[in-house]
């Protein structure tokens, strides 16, 4: 029997959720034994595979690039997991939401700079009007709150999912 496949994705977040993932320490070996990690900032693959069983998504959907990625990921993923507060509520990336894109870019690239003022128009993807929770854009199957979710919670949830159970996220909460 082939192993289930696991992916982790990093959208608009600080990578803290991925740091917490790494904090699983030696339990990472156990996870690697039970699942193939096929796509992640932690591995080399550049293209999201055609089918992935489990995918942890860190971060809010903030740019056109995030939007394109998450739609593709949703199509190709069995169980999609909103991984951490930014994915679930937009959290810190969402702090820009009440400000609006234009005033935000002006503040960052015009008002506070002396060298080459001007918002970037090439290479970096355009911002969406609001940083959005993942489930406002695509269907999400499981939510793992926390900023970041603890390594224990990630481990327990992955084990539950790999064994076909709905994860028990008791004790998880926003912030912390």
């Amino acid at each position: 029997m082939t192993k289930p496949t696991l992916a982790t994705v990093w959208l608009d977040g600080c990578s803290g959720c991925h740091m917490s993932f790494i904090d699983m320490d030696e339990r990472l070996l156990e996870i690697a034994e039970r699942a193939d990690i096929v796509y992640s900032p932690l591995v080399d693959t550049k293209v999201y595979p055609d089918h992935v069983d489990l995918c942890l998504v860190e971060g809010a959907v903030s740019s056109e690039d995030d939007l394109r990625k998450i739609k593709l990921i949703r199509e190709r993923t069995g169980t999609l997991i909103s991984f951490g507060d930014c994915a679930i509520t937009a959290n810190v990336p969402g702090m820009r939401n009440p400000i609006g894109v234009q005033p935000l870019l002006e503040r960052a690239y015009l008002e506070n700079v002396t060298l080459n003022p001007g918002a970037p128009t090439e290479v970096v993807p355009a911002l969406l009007p609001m940083a959005l929770p993942v489930h406002r854009v695509v269907k999400v199957d499981v939510f793992l709150p926390g900023c970041p979710p603890s390594a224990d919670l990630i481990h327990q949830s992955l084990v539950d999912l790999l064994e076909g159970r709905t994860p028990d996220t008791r004790g998880a909460r926003f912030g912390r």
């Binding site: 937009a90 406002r136 900023c147 912030g175």
Partner: protein
């Protein structure tokens, strides 16, 4: 003479005296009803609606904190419908302002955050509003971040009922509702505020806080035990 009313909560027989609320009798009998705006020692306003219960014979949900007990009542506190409503209320409290627990002075010392965990709220179904909401940091010692205010009006009540200053009031309605100091003047210019800090102590969230504390310090952590409220709560009912 006190009249005793016998009635039922969740099928168990309980008794309360004239003038007691459903919430008070439930608490006495170890029946847990989630609350938010209620605080022992302050008057009840029923503003947060978290303690809503069902009373047989009435199609309306009724807040347990402001509904007085009566003979033969049949109260239910735990139906699926009630749990659903409570979760929606918490969702709305979160989404009507901007709550970002990870960078909030009240992180891990917040009644709203605790309740979300208790009711197993792991995401919000309602859309993001992200309103533009202000902060008033004009007071020398304290500040209010309206982004975190849930309009429980504990600050309004403690200032009026315990401190006797009545600095705080409520202005506006609907989603534009705000607590204000001295009829809408900046807190720092308030002539009625005594700087006692009671509002900061009773605030269940990160809306009211002491200045000069970092988020990491968790300014709400050392929330005092509110001795003045304990005394109030124990005072016999004046009739």
């Amino acid at each position: 003479m006190t009249t005793v009313h016998t009635f039922r909560i969740n099928g168990s027989d309980v008794a309360g005296t004239d003038g007691q609320s459903i919430l008070a009798v439930a608490t006495e009998n170890g029946i847990d009803i989630p609350t938010m705006c209620h605080l022992d020692g302050l008057s009840d306003t029923g503003s947060c609606r978290l303690c809503v219960v069902e009373v047989a014979g009435s199609s309306k949900l009724t807040p347990a904190c402001t509904t007085l007990v009566s003979e033969g009542m049949d109260v239910s506190t735990t139906s699926e419908q009630l749990c659903g409503y409570r979760r929606t209320i918490i969702e709305m409290l979160f989404l009507e302002r901007n709550h970002i627990c990870a960078v909030c002075v009240a992180n891990n010392h917040c009644d709203l955050q605790n309740l979300a965990e208790e009711l197993k709220l792991d995401h919000f179904e309602l859309p993001v509003i992200a309103p533009k909401v202000g902060i008033d940091a004009s007071h020398a010692l304290f500040a209010i971040d309206h982004n975190r205010c849930i309009m429980c009006v504990r600050c309004v009540r403690v200032c009026d009922e315990v401190e006797g200053a009545h600095t705080w009031d409520v202005m506006g309605s609907g989603i534009g509702v705000r607590v204000v100091t001295d009829m809408g003047t900046p807190w720092g210019e308030s002539t009625s505020c005594t700087s006692c800090g009671k509002c900061v102590q009773v605030c269940p969230t990160g809306a009211l806080f002491e200045k000069g504390r970092s988020i990491g310090e968790g300014s709400k952590e050392r929330r005092p035990f509110l001795p003045y409220l304990k005394n109030q709560a124990q005072e016999p009912e004046l009739t």
